[in-house]
């Protein structure tokens, strides 16, 4: 164990690495929305996956019960995480594995680089992993003179293009096949100049390129989808078989996994193996599921390491309203159904985790004040499509609203001059907390009518409201409010403002 006692850490320990938006979401979204090719690619891809998911989900009569079960299992894991982690450590170690604990991205990166250095190798093959994206492992290893080669096809495309993934499951979702062909021709050593954009031909070119690496690699780095506490088993769920190659051929296998990935028992896997493939790729079952339990002499990797990563997960766990974000199994169903993600793509969110789950997970892990992460919880119209799609029933809209509250509260008393939003909300709170006050203000409706002019619409508003009138008119207000009509024409005035009985039934308008 690479552990040094540094005294009690101050809590919460926030996450570091690629968990931040470096510019505010509206600004980044504005740029991404201007990319017509990106919007077309994303629209096509998200709609295809959406339809597939709906179809395979509708085949299961007990889908809602499965979601309930998934949610309940994850809730129990979070409630007894320390105990389960220790149980897992005991079993994993007993089977010949070595556990390393990493508090944040820097610690995790140093541990992995050190382990690779010990083998004397300067190259490692990688299984697609969100945890290693989150800590920026590839970039760190490169600084240390170690080459990390992504072997998942889409991750490979992104890596060859020196780009960043824009989706957690389909990292190259923002690229179409002709863009992929161009990247291969430009960046892949020995690519056939006659390569077409036929998907089968593109896959074959990647296969040839990767096969050479699989057969020579001595070190592999992976993530894990699940860890089973009762046996010390790790699991990777994938589509292409590249993961199986990495997990079985090299001598040394280093896995980096967030501490929230634990499941108590083998039996719990049955729930998640039904939920995950259907929610992620829209398949009944994924092509490859690899499960490994420690070292087996003469078969597979002989040196097995697991880096257990906190990086802000404890901080998220400490947030009572937000902690269920840690139930996420990284299926990406929420981003595929999100109308905001569909139009902006993943890069607009800055963090490794984009879309609705990213908009809550990133600020929960880093703290709301980190860089521009406070803009993420507002990147949603709260339509609720994500909550309906989530296989473990994370109430993303409620957590988004909760984090908006955390953001607003974190800025109270810190600003010399209140923002337009602050002032507006304060004034609206006063006006809308009394029927009498609202009624008085409504007496001014004819003024708005006057402002609207003869075409009966308002086309330009100042300040923050200008966002509305950039693409929408506001109708001219009516000559009188409903309240006034009710008091004067329908029921007669009621000075007390109490309930007024109906006495002219049958009157229509």
């Amino acid at each position: 164990m690479s552990q040094t006692f540094l005294g009690m850490p101050s809590l919460p320990v926030f996450g570091t690495g690629n968990l931040h938006a470096s510019e505010s979401f509206p600004k980044a979204a504005h740029r991404e929305l201007g990319n017509a090719q990106l919007r077309a690619n994303l629209g096509h891809a998200t709609h295809t996956i959406r339809d597939k998911r709906l179809q395979v989900v509708s085949e299961l009569p007990d889908w809602e019960q499965l979601r309930d079960a998934g949610s309940a299992i994850k809730e129990s894991v979070m409630a007894r995480l320390p105990e389960l982690l220790e149980q897992f450590e005991k079993n994993f170690t007993a089977r010949g594995g070595v556990i390393h604990w990493a508090r944040d991205a820097d610690e995790a990166n140093e541990i992995v680089a050190g382990l690779i250095r010990e083998t004397g190798e300067t190259e490692a093959v990688k299984v697609k992993s969100m945890a290693t994206q989150e800590i920026g492992l590839n970039e760190y290893l490169e600084e240390q003179g170690i080459t990390a080669l992504e072997t998942d096809l889409a991750e490979l495309i992104v890596q060859l293009d020196h780009d960043k993934p824009s989706h957690i499951l389909v990292p190259a979702i923002h690229k179409n096949r002709s863009q992929v062909r161009d990247i291969f021709l430009r960046e892949m050593p020995g690519a056939d100049p006659a390569l077409t954009d036929d998907p089968a031909k593109l896959a074959a070119a990647a296969r040839t390129h990767l096969r050479r690496k699989f057969l020579t690699a001595k070190v592999a780095v992976s993530g894990a989808n699940f860890a089973l506490a009762d046996s010390g088993t790790l699991a990777v769920v994938e589509s292409e078989g590249n993961g199986r190659m990495c997990l079985t051929l090299p001598e040394t296998l280093i896995t980096v996994m967030g501490i929230e990935k634990l499941l108590p028992t083998w039996q719990d896997l049955e729930v998640f193996m039904q939920l995950l493939p259907r929610s992620s790729t829209g398949e009944r079952m994924n092509p490859y599921t690899s499960l490994w339990t420690g070292v087996t002499e003469g078969d597979g990797p002989q040196n097995m390491h697991l880096v257990l990563l906190d990086n802000g997960r404890s901080a998220a766990l400490a947030d009572e309203m937000g902690r269920s974000a840690l139930h996420c199994i990284r299926c990406s169903a929420c981003m595929n159904v999100c109308p905001v993600y569909e139009r902006t793509g993943g890069h607009a969110y800055g963090s490794t985790y984009p879309g609705p789950i990213g908009a809550i997970l990133s600020p929960l892990m880093t703290g709301i004040q980190a860089e521009e992460n406070s803009s993420l919880p507002y990147a949603s119209s709260l339509c609720g499509a994500c909550y309906d799609a989530c296989p473990v029933k994370i109430n993303i809209p409620d957590i988004l609203v909760h984090l908006r509250g955390v953001d607003v509260d974190s800025k109270r008393g810190k600003k010399k001059i209140p923002t337009q939003m602050d002032a507006g909300m304060k004034a609206a709170s006063w006006a809308l907390s009394s029927g009498k006050r609202l009624g008085l203000l409504e007496k001014g409706l004819p003024l708005g009518r006057l402002a609207a002019g003869p075409d009966k619409k308002i086309t330009k508003l100042p300040g923050i409201a200008a966002g509305w009138t950039q693409s929408r008119d506001i109708p001219a207000p009516p000559p009188q409010s409903f309240r006034t009509w009710w008091a004067n024409e329908h029921r007669g005035p009621d000075p007390e403002g109490g309930p007024m009985p109906s006495h002219n039934k049958g009157d229509q308008q």
């Binding site: 119209s381 607003v408 409201a465 929408r472």
Partner: protein
């Protein structure tokens, strides 16, 4: 039955015809309508923008206005505001540590209904044409708003009611479950994304060939209608309550020009 009308602030101030139509429908069915005069707003704008502290007085005002035993049920012509009353009010009261308000808010929420929910589930309306005399000879498409659909699980209640209006030509909207992009202050804070969502919604509405888009939330309809108006479209938006209240003797008032199915222009 004695029914308390929660008009909602946007309908009260901007779309009084929707509240008048709600009153007309309920009275036509023989029920007594009361309007608790202390009411103002559900506070959803404050809650969804993160201003919980400022939301509390708004919520407390709503609870005080509606906790009277003087009525049997409360109704609002809005899925979103009803969802706020039922779901957000107790949640915000709890998060602000006011247990008493939480309990009172939950009691008010339990007897508050969205209009189609009340009509179908409680008052047994299955045929608007015969039970309400509804008549509306226009080609209409219908947008189901997100909060009614996903928070209240209204299903096809509003659409079924519209479908039974005499003379109506209800044309299905492509991708009906997609948000129009309103989202309260989202439409200002993230105006670009909101506009991109609205653009697609407006295109789908236009593709139906309908002269009107109906729905159950005045706020979404104001958003959609505002976008169509900016594009110079002649398509109008109209709350489903106004279509249900429309009869041959008292046809619904529609702002602007709308083609009658017979080809005559109606004002």
């Amino acid at each position: 039955m004695k029914i308390a009308l929660f008009a909602t602030c946007i309908v009260d101030a901007m779309y009084p015809a929707t509240a008048k139509a709600t009153v007309a429908i309920l009275e036509r069915l023989g029920h007594e309508v009361v309007f608790p005069g202390g009411q103002a707003c559900c506070g959803q704008m404050h809650v969804n923008s993160g201003y919980f502290k400022e939301a509390v007085p708004v919520i407390a005002n709503h609870v005080a206005a509606f906790e009277s035993d003087d009525y049997d049920v409360a109704v609002a012509p809005s899925g979103s505001c009803v969802a706020s009353v039922k779901h957000q009010h107790p949640m915000i009261a709890r998060s602000c540590g006011d247990r008493a308000l939480e309990e009172r808010a939950a009691a008010v929420g339990a007897k508050t209904y969205e209009l189609s929910e009340l009509l179908v589930d409680v008052l047994g309306v299955t045929d608007a044409g015969s039970q309400l005399g509804s008549w509306f000879p226009h080609r209409v498409t219908y947008h189901p708003s997100c909060h009614g659909m996903r928070l209240l699980r209204l299903g096809d209640r509003q659409q079924r009611l519209l479908d039974t209006v005499r003379g109506i030509d209800l044309t299905p909207l492509p991708e009906p479950d997609q948000c129009c992009g309103f989202g309260g202050t989202f439409s200002m804070k993230n105006a670009d994304v909101s506009s991109a969502m609205l653009e697609d919604k407006a295109a789908n509405i236009t593709a139906t060939g309908a002269s009107l888009c109906s729905g159950g939330d005045a706020s979404c309809l104001m958003h959609i209608g505002g976008g169509l108006s900016r594009q110079g479209s002649s398509i109008r938006t109209l709350h489903f309550a106004e279509i249900l209240a429309s009869t041959e003797q008292h046809p619904a008032q529609i702002a602007g020009e709308v083609q009658l199915l017979s080809g005559k222009a109606a004002q």
